[in-house]
């Protein structure tokens, strides 16, 4: 890995590779030969995904270790395991996070607390630790998932959106702070993507497929970009949405 973090053949600790966007992105990385180590809560699921990734070309073995974004005390141990398995990781990808329908979050404050904890606190603590680790070894790449929902509040999902907005600001700052020390940071902002996470929600225009998102993200990782909207059209959609006067947002029913 060079200092700019632009080469393929990375050694990636991956949080959230078993499902949805994470599954698609991990496959993409596996197929081009990146070494992967999976981190997450469900051992059985990670074991299955590890087999899938190995069959698709990831250097074997694809190992895994427990990591719960809601339990930061376990992060160092999990990262040590990844470092051991890949003889020092040079990238972290975090696609894992929580999602719930807005109405459920409004009604259930325990659930909301868990969402805030995982998507904001846990993810930031993890990325911050990894940034230090990578900087100490000369650089690397951190890729985490914000959301277009974090670009502008909507009455229908500002709780989830707030976690992603906070995370986006953090990632933006992390990039500024660590770039000189060789750490690249990529904040992915997916629009609506058809995955298990969004199942049952009404599908808006410009909805994307996970495979296309994975391709966009892998490209952005290689290009060393700090932010990527995917599908790409969401960049322009959000440009407009961010510029909408408040009066219009107030009237809009979304």
């Amino acid at each position: 890995m060079n200092r700019a973090g632009l080469r393929v053949g990375r050694k990636v600790a991956f949080v959230g590779a078993t499902r949805g966007l994470g599954r698609a992105l991990a496959r993409r990385l596996a197929e081009r030969g990146d070494a992967l180590f999976l981190l997450g809560r469900d051992q059985a699921e990670m074991a299955l995904s590890a087999l899938d990734l190995e069959a698709r070309g990831a250097p074997t073995p694809v190992g895994h270790a427990p990591l719960d974004l809601a339990r930061p005390a376990g992060f160092p141990e999990a990262l040590d395991a990844a470092d051991r398995a890949l003889s020092r990781i040079d990238a972290l990808v975090v696609t894992g996070g929580l999602f719930a329908r807005h109405e459920e979050l409004v009604q259930d404050s325990a659930r909301l607390a868990a969402l805030l904890d995982v998507n904001f606190t846990g993810t930031i603590l993890l990325c911050q630790q990894v940034a230090e680790r990578l900087a100490a070894r000369g650089g690397g790449l951190i890729c985490a998932f914000g959301s277009v929902a974090g670009d502008r509040a909507r009455r229908g999902n500002y709780l989830y959106g707030a976690t992603k907005a906070g995370l986006s600001v953090f990632l933006d700052g992390l990039e500024l702070a660590y770039r000189d020390r060789g750490v690249r940071v990529l904040c992915v902002k997916p629009g609506f993507v058809k995955t298990g996470m969004t199942a049952g929600l009404p599908v808006p225009p410009f909805a994307g497929e996970p495979e296309a998102v994975a391709r966009d993200v892998a490209r952005a990782m290689d290009a060393g970009r700090p932010v990527v909207y995917t599908p790409a059209v969401w960049r322009w959609v959000m440009l407009v949405v961010r510029a909408l006067p408040r009066a219009i947002l107030r009237r809009a029913r979304f």
């Binding site: 959230g16 995904s49 069959a55 329908r101 199942a199």
Partner: protein, 453 residues
Amino acid sequence: MSGGTPAGAARPLEPVAGWGRYPVGRGRVERPERLALPDGAFPVVPRGFGRAYGDAAIPSAPGGLVLESTRADRIRAFDSTTGRLTCEAGLSLAEILRVFVPRGWFPAVTPGTKFVTVGACVACDVHGKNHHRDGSFGNFVERIELLTADGSVVECGPTRERELFLATVGGMGLTGLIVEVTLRLRRIESPWIVLETLGVDSLDAMLDGLKRSAVDWPYTVGWIDGLARGRDVGRGILMRGRHATAVEAGDRRPRGPLPLRVPIDAPEWLLNPLLMRWFNRLYAWRHGAALKRRLVSYDAFFYPLDSVAEWNRLYGRRGFLQYQCVVPRAAGSAPVATLLDRLGAAGAASFLAVIKDCGPASDAYLSFPMEGTTLALDLPHRGPVTEALIHDLNATVIAHGGRVYLAKDAVTRPADFARMMPRLAEWQAVRQRWDPRRRFRSAQSVRLFGDPA
């Protein structure tokens, strides 16, 4: 670590139809990333990409659970010395091709679209252009893991729980939810196909050409002119292919087909001119060199229609029925000629029909192919007239000991189907044993097997 399905969210009903867009049902569609039978889910219809044309993957009644497998698509194991692949049932042939063709492996049997799941290939016991040589999909399946109606996991295969295996291959998903499959892929030297096309001017010439080609060619198929009358019935082009060797392929790199999409439902008058254009081409071939040989990509050879996304919309809002039957070889070419003639006379026929010779039947109880000639064509759905035509065609097929293909069917009557399938009772007995309450049922099983709606 991601959030998964929002709990407690009641799924709205979605319209659910087959590839022919007729009939249309309504169901609650779940697309889990790992296949499981939700507690209390009853009844359930398994579904892949919805490429069965008729009512095979439509819920038995509005509100039934449709378990779509396409996101349960992980590979469990691949042995690069034997080509043995174990995967979740939702893995598509498209994905198998994408991952394994560059490594020199190809599905041993493939239908005319790659947008099908492995589970559906098993459930329909699909066949391809190599049926005369290799038989159907089930021949290459070594193991199936099923979630049966009582929720237990049961493994079956050619030598384990054999009756359940024979009932599941071709069993249209009605014996249990197929969650995992072990199958054998075929070694190939290149992604290219050596293709020969030749014009033939009669049905007998077509059947004879298929028979002769079958000796040396693993893949054969004919396209015939559904408009031809009298002496000309059966004229068309014969295509035969084989995987190119590394030497033949040289260093050609396959190019993906141009992505085309049918953006809207076509008006019903559109199709004729489009297909007429095809026909002009076909005749150009016929009147050109008698035999042409070239190298084509596997996509162009096996999946010509896959390059036009949603081509089924060409048939307009009312959809279409695809009719595919097989008549035993012993009956000679006469029944095939009769069928083609009826279609022409009814004026309802598509302009293109696909003809293919099948090899010996499989042991699977409801498997479609049998030694003989299979014919497939699209019939734009024009209401009761079209359905009456199909019953009429079925009568001819039954009279000669043939049958129709459930993956295509939407209208065949139960009594007719029973006459087509000599081993139906055996299949029903196995199904009765594994699913006495008919937890697994579909609009098709209600229509054909008398399941409660």
